[in-house]
């Protein structure tokens, strides 16, 4: 493989084997066109940083929004172009000297991430929701000046001056770039770097809410510390796997794991014999990924961070991170560790079960809509894990489909959450949502559609996704998981229904929140969410086809 070629180059350069003639340095081959989506996003992100430096404050917002949207759209176009060019199927291969896999899942997930990010960015750019609070300045969801202390004079001054944190746009782009690489990573190093690239901007994004800044900062601290903690685990796992296989390339590790490796030098033979390295390493990498996915018991950051982060960020994070992380998880389990399936399947079974049940049960007693959606996302992670465990091609495609369906619902739902506001900003406490259906039937109805999709009611995308995943799981011999999934769906239904009851059947409170009339930006987000929800619910065949065509990993 090309990766080893590169590495042996370095090895030789180190002079370990001086007997062999020194080869001529070969420039690495980088398939720029195939990496175009990532490169576009990163490039524009860098430009965005420059914009912050050089463009006058007044024009920054428009420039940034324009650049971000264009970047994401262009990247998406590139993905579509690649897919149309057959890179998802026949021409799938490993690019960038073994670092990146360009194949069906990669393109599908990149497409999903780019689209969800695009819609999510619309909510980032929304500036009409909070007009009354800050006088003449139009404001968005982000702090005027994140560095100023909450409640301090400098903050007030920043607000008065009409500052806005337009840095969020380049940050989002960096994060998206990381996410695009994450599921495509074909060696452990790329995996790690991508993880950090998409995580670090997210930590920052969490911290920059305009309202409830203390909570926002707290969310960021928690997310950061725990995220760093988990990446340490991931990295140690990487070290152990590398120790076991002598390589970080997925393909090589896979060959070593299932024993089909051809050349065995003594050192490799030595470490290969030590299964503990493999098992512990694998488990620790899983830990890192399960953390990102939000699976129990690595989920505990989720509610706090979802609640504290600015809602547009939450929506983006909940949707895109999950897609990227599951993509990476899939690739790890299907490409690197299939030989270890007998070991990780029972463990993942257990994780899936407690994730489904835990998420659903704890959600019952939640009183904050964002926390509720956080727990819901945990339960959904459990459902997706059920599909992951199927270990069949169907499993891959069902997970891909589920991720696509889920991410749009999530972005849409959080977009609706940004609309319901009172004097303190977003009114996220559930009691404030009482009677929303009376006051703004349309918003409530839209949110109900999202909730029903979360609950997996037929004719919504949630049902199609859930059905696909459960079907794959049952086909893959995980019937028990399906039963647990069904039970936790029932439990989960309870709290989704509770919100609907609250919105429609409770009398509106006198001091209840108002529903802001958003700009076309947020409207677009919500409309896309609803449209995708219904289309994937009523006529999912095209997308299922897409997912199943994309359901093959290249090795």
């Amino acid at each position: 493989m090309s990766a080893t070629a590169v590495h042996s180059l370095w090895t030789m350069a180190g002079g370990v084997t001086s007997t062999a003639p020194v080869e001529k340095f070969k420039a690495p081959v980088i398939e720029y066109t195939q990496l175009a989506p990532v490169l576009i996003v990163i490039g524009v992100a860098v430009v965005g940083v420059l914009v912050e430096a050089f463009v006058p404050r007044r024009a920054r917002y428009y420039t940034q929004v324009f650049l971000t949207v264009v970047a994401l759209a262009a990247a998406f176009a590139a993905v579509v172009g690649l897919a149309a060019g057959g890179y998802g199927t026949t021409k799938a291969h490993i690019a960038a000297m073994g670092a990146i896999a360009i194949d069906g899942p990669t393109l599908f997930l990149q497409g999903t991430i780019l689209l969800t990010s695009l819609v999510a960015v619309f909510t980032f750019a929304e500036r009409r929701l909070d007009p009354a609070a800050h006088g003449k300045h139009v404001v968005d969801s982000f702090a005027a000046q994140a560095a100023s202390v909450p409640g301090s004079d400098s903050e007030k001054a920043a607000v008065r001056a009409g500052f806005t944190t337009t840095e969020v746009f380049p940050l989002v782009l960096f994060s998206v770039a990381g996410m695009l690489v994450f599921p495509a990573a074909n060696d452990l190093l790329t995996l790690f770097v991508a993880l950090e690239v998409f995580s670090l901007p997210l930590y920052l994004l969490c911290a920059v809410a305009r309202r409830k800044r203390l909570m926002s900062q707290e969310a960021a601290v928690k997310y950061f510390l725990l995220g760093a903690f988990s990446s340490a685990f991931l990295l140690f796992g990487i070290a152990l796997l590398y120790g076991y296989a002598g390589s970080v390339s997925y393909a090589t590790i896979a060959n070593v794991v299932n024993g089909s490796v051809t050349q065995i030098d003594p050192a490799l033979a030595d470490t290969m014999g030590n299964d503990a390295l493999l098992l512990i390493g694998g488990a620790m990498i899983l830990t890192g990924l399960l953390f990102k996915v939000g699976a129990v018991p690595f989920h505990m950051w989720t509610p706090d961070v979802y609640q504290g982060a600015p809602t547009p960020v939450t929506g983006f994070m909940a949707a895109a991170t999950k897609v990227a992380a599951f993509g990476a998880l899939l690739r790890l389990l299907y490409v690197v560790l299939p030989g270890l399936a007998w070991d990780w399947r029972p463990v993942m079974w257990a994780v899936a079960i407690i994730t489904m049940l835990g998420g659903a049960i704890v959600a019952i007693t939640q009183t904050d809509i964002k926390r509720l959606l956080a727990y819901s996302s945990i339960a959904h992670a459990g459902f997706i894990l059920a599909g992951v465990i199927a270990t069949t091609p169907d499993g891959i495609s069902s997970v891909l489909f589920y991720l696509g369906a889920y991410s749009f619902v999530t972005v849409g739902a959080f977009a609706v959450v940004t609309l319901v506001r009172d004097a303190g900003g977003e009114a996220t406490h559930l009691s404030k949502w009482a009677g929303l259906g009376r006051r703004s039937p349309l918003v409530a109805a839209v949110f109900a559609v999202f909730l029903l999709a979360f609950a997996g009611i037929p004719l919504t995308s949630g049902f199609s996704g859930k059905f696909a995943v459960f079907k794959a799981a049952a086909d893959g011999g995980a019937g028990g998981l399906v039963v647990v999934g069904v039970i936790s769906s029932a439990i989960a239904a309870f709290f989704y229904i509770r919100v609907i009851v609250l919105m429609f059947f409770s009398e509106p409170k006198a001091d209840g929140p108002t529903v802001a009339v958003p700009s076309p930006l947020t409207m677009t987000t919500i409309a896309v969410g609803v449209a995708v929800t219904l289309v994937l619910g009523l006529a999912p065949q095209y997308f299922l086809d897409l997912a199943s065509q994309a359901g093959v990993f290249v090795r």
Binding site: S397, R438, S440, P441, L442, L452, A455, I457, P458, L459, F463, S464, F467, A468, F470, K471, A474, D475, G479, V482, V483, G485, V486, I487, S489, A490, A493, F494, I497, R498, I500, V501, F504, F505, S506, E507, A539, P540, Q541, L544, D545, S548
Partner: protein, 523 residues
């Protein structure tokens, strides 16, 4: 390609629902008329379907088949057998009455809000339910059926929770709480049932690889699809559980009295006369056809549960103080009969059960709607608040009595035919069960007559004084139903002719033959 009649029958009310919902807030009455017109047009289409159906022909007729979700092995497959077409027609028949009866049920109490359009919503939801129910009677694809089975819960849920009976005791908040409790209970019970069925649906796919009823049946018949006994049983239980919740069968019944009590009468009719029929219908179509062996295996338990439902429902009906809850428990008792008839697995039992679904739909509609008219007048659901109504409103009392007599299966009225068939069918297979079920007829008389006595007879209560008799709109609702009850009681042949062949198909699915009369068996 011929005209997709079945699709049209289901699509029409769906379109109607959208159209009704789109009517501006101020044009309330227009929305009502629009809904009524759509429901009547649906009735016409259903009538055409009924007329086009040839009892002696193919098992499934008017079929349509289109690719839908290939990956799930799902096709958009429609077709009706005798049972389906009859129930479809019943649904189409009842909805105009439901709409007419609920004409004022969703008028907004205050007219100041311009965006809140309850009336439009109410009628749109009713039409939505109609569309889904009709389609579920037509679906010959398990997945398609499942989707509708679940999806219809949502409009039903909003109908129950959003439009409660305005006659209630206690404070408004209390009533609202009760109502949302009932709605949530309805939804959760049915959702849990549905989700368990989902597991079984997936299991079925894993085993069979398709959801097409005809393909599965064919594969089972020619032996290319064999299920392990335990698999079949688990799948059967998954399906049956969902249907038993919907039907509802004891002890899964407790959502029904709440839902029927809190909903407006037309919605209560919608629940018990239309939506719940999907459950019993599905037992006949899916449980027996897909899992014949498991059905036979489970029969003893189901028969016992059905018997408990019959007796228990009737006894609880006697003990109720709320008119609508009483009718709800009576319905539980009746559903016991239907399920008993289905699982007796005799021609008479199953024909009876099918007729029972139709007749119960009509008779409960009649009784419940009149009860609703009564309740609206007095503003109370409590039996004790009434007395002597027949003196002031004789026509109301008379129609109520006829509805009641139909409920207690008086010969000459339609329910008698079906109930007797069920009893005979059960008796010939399980004599003891038949005898126990017969006590249901005494208990039915008890709760109906007690209800009638306490509300309609005796001295005229002060609050009842001056109660108006039925108005023209209400008569238009009630009289056709009563006429139908009489007609089908005297001449049920048109129905039985359509139903019989379908029942024979089902009987051959489960490979059951009617027990021979002793005298002939001896020969």
């Amino acid at each position: 390609m011929s005209f997709p009649l079945l699709t049209a029958t289901a699509a029409l009310p769906a379109i109607g629902a959208v159209a009704t919902a789109a009517v501006p807030a101020a044009r309330r009455t227009a929305a009502k008329w629009l809904a009524l017109v759509f429901s009547l047009a649906t009735l016409v289409l259903a009538g055409i379907a009924l007329a086009r159906f040839e009892p002696g022909g193919e098992r499934y007729q008017l079929t349509e088949s289109h690719a839908w979700i290939k990956d799930f092995g799902v096709r958009y497959e429609l077709g009706v057998d005798g049972i389906g077409v009859v129930l479809m027609a019943l649904t189409a028949l009842l909805i105009p009455f439901v709409i007419l009866a609920g004409w004022h049920d969703a008028d907004p109490l205050e007219t100041k809000s311009s965006r809140w359009r309850p009336t439009q919503g109410f009628f749109a939801l009713i039409l939505m339910v109609e569309a889904m129910v009709i389609l579920s009677f037509e679906a010959t694809d398990v997945f398609l059926f499942y989707i509708l089975f679940e999806a219809m819960l949502i409009p039903m849920y909003f109908l129950i929770g959003g439009f409660g009976d305005r006659a209630h005791t206690g404070s408004d908040e209390n009533a609202a709480a009760q109502r949302s409790y009932a709605a949530v209970k309805f939804l959760l019970y049915n959702l849990v049932g549905g989700l368990i069925m989902l597991a079984a649906v997936i299991g079925l796919y894993v085993v069979a690889g398709t959801f097409s009823l005809s393909e599965i049946a064919e594969a089972r018949a020619n032996g290319s699809l064999s299920m392990a006994t335990s698999t079949e049983r688990w799948l059967f239980l998954g399906f049956f559980f969902a249907f038993a919740v919907k039907a509802p069968l004891w002890p899964l019944h407790t959502w029904l009295p709440n839902a029927m009590g809190e909903a407006t009468s037309p919605v209560a009719v919608l629940i018990t006369a239309v939506v719940d029929k999907v459950g019993t219908f599905a037992m006949l179509r899916f449980c027996l056809q897909l899992f014949p062996e498991a059905s036979k295996w489970a029969t003893p338990v189901i028969v016992v549960l059905a018997l408990i439902s019959i007796v228990y429902g009737a006894l609880l009906a006697v003990g109720q103080r709320d008119i609508k809850r009483l009718i709800a428990y009576a319905s539980i008792s009746h559903f016991g009969f239907i399920i008993l008839g289905i699982f007796a697995m005799t021609s008479q039992g199953q024909s009876g059960a099918t007729l029972y679904m139709v007749n119960h739909g009509i008779s409960t509609a009649a009784l419940m709607l009149v009860a609703g008219f009564l309740i609206t007048r007095r503003g109370s659901r409590l039996i004790a608040d009434y007395g002597g109504v027949q003196k002031v409103a004789p026509v109301l009392a008379g129609t109520f009595l006829i509805g009641g007599l139909a409920t207690l299966s008086l010969p000459g009225l339609a329910p008698f035919v079906s109930e007797f068939l069920v009893l005979v069918g059960t008796f010939s297979a399980y004599p003891a069960a038949g005898v126990i079920a017969t006590t249901g007829i005494v208990l039915a008389a008890l709760y109906v007559l007690v209800l009638y006595q306490r509300t309609m007879t005796g001295p005229v209560k002060a609050e009842v004084q001056g109660m108006a008799d039925l108005k023209v709109r209400e008569l238009v609702v009630v009289l056709p139903l009563i006429a139908l009850l009489l007609f089908l009681g005297v001449y049920p042949k048109p129905l039985t002719e359509i139903v019989n062949p379908a029942v024979q198909h089902t009987m051959s699915d489960v490979q059951k033959k009617d027990p021979q009369p002793e005298v002939e068996a001896a020969k």
